[in-house]
Structures are given as C-alpha cells and as structure tokens.
C-alpha cells in the first residue's frame, strides 16, 4: 500500500482576487513505502506548494490526500500527528534553530509530540547519530556550529519525531561540494538502513540521478513527468524547454550516439557512463577502423 496518495489536488491562492494563481493543477501521485523520490521543477513550478500539502501545512482547494489510507481532510483527522509522520525539512532549515544547545533543539519536536524529557532526549540522540553529529557538540550552542553541522542538527530535529516519510526541500543549498555529498550520502544511508520513504527536492540533476528511484517533474503546477530517472532524462529536450536540464552525462551520451558511437544513452551517472563508454570504446577498437562520423 502506498504511504501517500494525492488525488486530483488543485490549489488556488488569492482565490477570487485579481492575483489569483493556480499553484497546483490536478496533481495525482502515489508514493509507495520505502521509495526514494526526487522532485524537480524550476522555481515557481509548484513543487514547494506540493510538499507543504503533504504534511497539511497548506490545504488543497479541491482534491484528496491520503496518508496510510486515511483521508487527511477527514473530520477527525489529527493534523498534528500527520506533521510528525510526514517530516518536512525546509530550505535553509538551520534558520529555525533557537534553543541554547544542540540537544535541546533536537528535543523540541519530540517534546511537542508529548514525550517526556527523557524519551525526547533518547530520540534526539538517536537522530543526531543518524545525521552524523558527534556527541561532543550536543552541549554546544547551535549557532556556534559550521554551516554543514547546523544543517544536520536541523534535519535531526525533524528525524527525532520518527517520521514515516521525510521530505527535504533542497537540503544542500549553499553548502560546498563536500558538504553537499556528505549530507546526501547520509540521507541515502538513512533510506537504506531504516526503510524511510524520502522525497528529495533538488535543482541538481546530477544529484537526483545519483540517488533516487523515481523522478517527479513539476511544471506550472502540474506533473509533467513521473517515472524512473532513465525514462525521465530521455525527455531531456522537453526538460530544457521548461527551464530544466538533464545531467551532463546524458548530453555526452546522446552526442556520442549522434557521432556514431554505439553507447547506451540511458546512462545518467558517471559510473554508468564510464562503463558504457569503456565497453563501446573496446568494441570499436577490436573492430578497428570503425571511426566516428564527423557531424
């Protein structure tokens, strides 16, 4: 059964004014448990609006959303419970830190769930371990940490609520390359080890291609593509038309193919591309003379 199911959701803001904007147009999705989903779309495509619907921060103008089979707009539905089950990490989440020390800050979520200080602390320690913040920092002020550390603490703040689904809105924005890879690796590890369902919003196609099982592309409030990465990146020309792109590797593979090299154009990561090119190159050099055409 799917964890989250979105059915014909429309969202209009500023309804009945001159500024009326339809931010979501008939969006339907189903997200099975344990999937690693990438959500892409340029700024203003509706992806941020969509993720805020998933944990009830924004209410749809029409349509239904089901979490574990239950209609979240149902009469007695517990929204607060939903928010702890569908953890949402906003962009620059370190801007929400406020406590005097790291541990207390991470405890904020679990304490709001009604856990005792002891239980909350246990959860917090576990969450901090999961994101790789070492124990020596627990007593530090969160504001003294480096950018990457702060971000981990903020993510731990959401993880400590033990959500079923973790949604991250551009978790790597503003980090340096190593910091970026570290955070994404950590999330991938979490996904593998705990079977957490993860929805990753990102602008980096390279990152998306490396980590996710499925890509949802949003454009002008509607779902444009929803398929496996290879499938989606086959449409790289259409992606470009809506201000997006495929990973560099996709372009390389297509260009090589055009020039007559017999490579698999579905490769989306450096690893895959390397294998495809090496095997094509070997084949070519075994049957010498088979050169590229000059286009």
């Amino acid at each position: 059964m799917s964890v989250l199911k979105v059915e014909h959701v429309n969202y209009i803001y500023g309804a009945e004014t001159a500024y009326e904007i339809q931010a979501l147009k008939d969006v339907s999705l189903e997200i099975p448990k344990g999937q690693f989903v990438g959500l892409i779309g340029h700024t203003g495509s509706g992806k941020s609006t969509l993720i805020q619907h998933l944990n009830g921060l924004i209410r749809a103008t029409s349509g239904h959303i089901y979490f574990q089979g239950q209609d979240i707009y149902g009469a007695h539905y517990n929204m607060k419970e939903l928010r702890s089950q569908v953890g949402l990490v906003f962009q620059y989440p370190e801007h929400q830190l406020f406590e005097i020390d790291v541990l207390s800050d991470v405890c904020y979520g679990p304490k709001n769930q009604g856990l005792t200080r002891e239980e909350a602390e246990k959860r917090a320690r576990e969450a901090l371990r999961m994101v790789g913040v070492s124990e020596e920092f627990y007593g530090h002020s969160p504001f003294e940490l480096s950018g990457g550390q702060k971000r981990r603490v903020a993510i731990a703040g959401v993880l400590a609520m033990k959500p079923e689904v973790l949604i991250l809105d551009e978790p790597t924005a503003g980090l340096d390359p190593k910091g970026r890879d570290d955070i994404l690796d950590q999330i991938a590890k979490l996904h593998q080890e705990s079977g957490l369902t993860v929805i990753l919003v990102s602008h980096s196609m390279e990152d998306i291609a490396k980590y996710v099982d499925r890509i949802i592309v949003m454009n002008q409030g509607a779902v444009m593509f929803d398929a496996a990465p290879k499938e989606v990146f086959r449409h790289y020309k259409e992606l470009e038309q809506v201000g997006l792109a495929a990973p560099q590797v996709t372009y390389i593979m297509h260009r090589l193919k055009e020039r007559g090299m017999d490579v698999d154009t579905d490769a989306t990561t450096v690893e895959e591309a390397k294998e495809a090119i090496v095997s094509a190159w070997k084949k070519k050099h075994d049957s010498a003379g088979n050169r590229c055409e000059n286009v």
Binding site: G174, K178, Y251, L256, K274, V278, W281
Partner: protein, 280 residues
C-alpha cells in the same frame, strides 16, 4: 591592479576582560596578483578563508600582517578608504541583504549618490549599468518582486554604477537556482569581456570557473593551487582532497583515462570530451 603580499588575517576572540582567548587564522600568508582585465576565480570550501580574503580587497577588513594594494593604494591607508571602496566594488552572497533601495533604479543610484556624483551623471550611470546587466525593463520594479538571479544582477548594476576598476563577487550564486546562476555568470562574463572590468569571482561551483583566466584554490587560509582552469581541472584527486569537485564531464574524462582510454588532461566541456573520444 590587486596585489596582496604575505597577507595574514586573524580573527581574535576575547573573553570579557579583553584578554585574547583564541586566535583563528583565517588567511595565512597569501600572495595574490591580479592584472587589469583579468577574470580570476577563487575556489575553496566553506571556511577556507576565501571570503575573508575578499573582504580585504575593498578594505572591509584590514590585514593583521602583510599588505593589500589596490592600484597603488594601501588598504590600511584610511585617507584612501573611499577611493578604495569605489575602485573595488563588492557583490555579496545574499541578494536580499545588499539591496538598499525600494525601487530597482534607486538602488543602482545608491553608490553614486554616496560618492557625491552630480544628479545628471547619476542618471546616466544608472541607465548604462542597468543596460549592462540587462535589467533596464525592470527599473521601476520593487526588488522584492524579482527572482534571485535578477536581484543579483541589480546588485551587480549597483556596483557597476560606481565605475569600479574591479568587481569582487563573494559567492554571488550560492543561493540561486541553476537558471539564476547561469544568468549571473553570463552577466559577469559580459562585464569582463565587453567592459573590460577586472573580475574576482569567489565560488564553490566548478562549472563557473571554466571561463576564468586564472583559478586559485584556497584551503585553511592558504593558496594551495594556482593555474588555468585546464591545469586545475586536470588534478581531480587533489581537488577532492580540498573538499571540492569537478564538473561531471571532467570527472568522466578523468575516470575514462584511468581505464586506459587515451584522453587529454583537464577536459572542460562536453564538446571537448565528445571530440576527443571520437578521435581516439
């Protein structure tokens, strides 16, 4: 144009009595020489000292040791403070926190107003600067309604209107989406090529330094690598050690080379890789 000699900067943390508690060396004996018209990129991970270095160039910070010259002015010379700030314009990371005006054109005029430029000339400067960054159509807009990339272009126009000899951009694209990043980089390149403005770009996005004349890599306050983009990008493993990475094309070329495919070093573009592979 810009020259630093044995530049050292220490952040000093003091306790309540004013005694030195901790000294954190952010910039450590940096020698840098930027020629007029150059496009120099400074790479480095967060905390490598690159921003601290940038703040020395327009005298927001003054060296703990060593010297910084802008043209023939020493940044420590307070008599030249405003000349230095005018010669070396600075664009910062967060587009929201550097726009002062509530209307685009008024923000662009802010620098010249401070410099005491006559009204008529302010208008001329605002017109040409907005044109140079391609934001003329938005001159009467409120900055709050613009996209991140557009805001940064306004910030750049604000600096250009001061007629600086060089522009230092401190991670101008870190908070932007890919399209905004492209917009800003295109604008910077045009300024460098068309207007011959000296550019010092600080970033950790590798794609952006491909167009630079020179690349400098910083780590722990020191300059650890210098060279052309091609030279720098051919040293993939070394870059990784400094918490940096290379564009996917360069990485792929590097991996293929390791597999025994004969390819030249430091491939920077898709075209180069495709051509090289087809000819090998």
């Amino acid at each position: 144009m810009i020259r630093t000699a044995k530049l050292v900067y220490d952040y000093i943390k003091r306790d309540e009595e004013g005694n030195v508690e901790e000294v954190d060396r952010a910039v450590d004996h940096v020698d840098l020489d930027v020629e007029k018209g150059d496009f120099v990129a400074i790479l480095g991970h967060n905390g490598s000292g690159k921003s601290t270095l940038a703040k020395h160039i327009n005298a927001i910070l003054v060296p703990s040791e060593g010297t910084v010259w802008i043209g023939d002015m020493d940044t420590r010379d307070e008599g030249h403070l405003w000349d230095i700030r005018q010669s070396a314009g600075m664009v910062f990371q967060n587009p929201d926190n550097q726009i002062i005006g509530t209307i685009v054109e008024e923000d662009v005029g802010f620098g010249p107003e401070n410099m005491g430029v006559p009204t008529k000339e302010i208008w001329e400067r605002v017109d040409e600067s907005l044109k140079a960054v391609g934001m003329t159509a938005y001159r009467h807009h409120s900055p709050n309604k613009l996209s991140g990339g557009q805001k940064q272009r306004v910030a750049i126009a604000g600096v250009v209107a001061m007629h600086p000899k060089c522009i230092i951009l401190d991670e101008p694209t870190a908070m932007l989406d890919p399209n905004g990043r492209k917009e800003v980089i295109r604008t910077i390149r045009a300024l460098n090529q068309v207007e011959d403005v000296t550019v010092l770009l600080i970033t950790h996005y590798m794609e952006e330094v491909v167009y630079a004349d020179k690349v400098v890599v910083m780590d722990e306050g020191k300059i650890v690598m210098r060279g052309t983009p091609r030279e720098i990008f051919s040293r993939v493993d070394e870059l990784k050690q400094y918490r940096l990475d290379v564009p996917q094309v360069t990485l792929l070329a590097h991996e293929l080379k390791k597999e025994g495919i004969p390819l030249p070093d430091g491939i920077l573009s898709i075209d180069e890789l495709v051509n090289a592979l087809c000819q090998s």
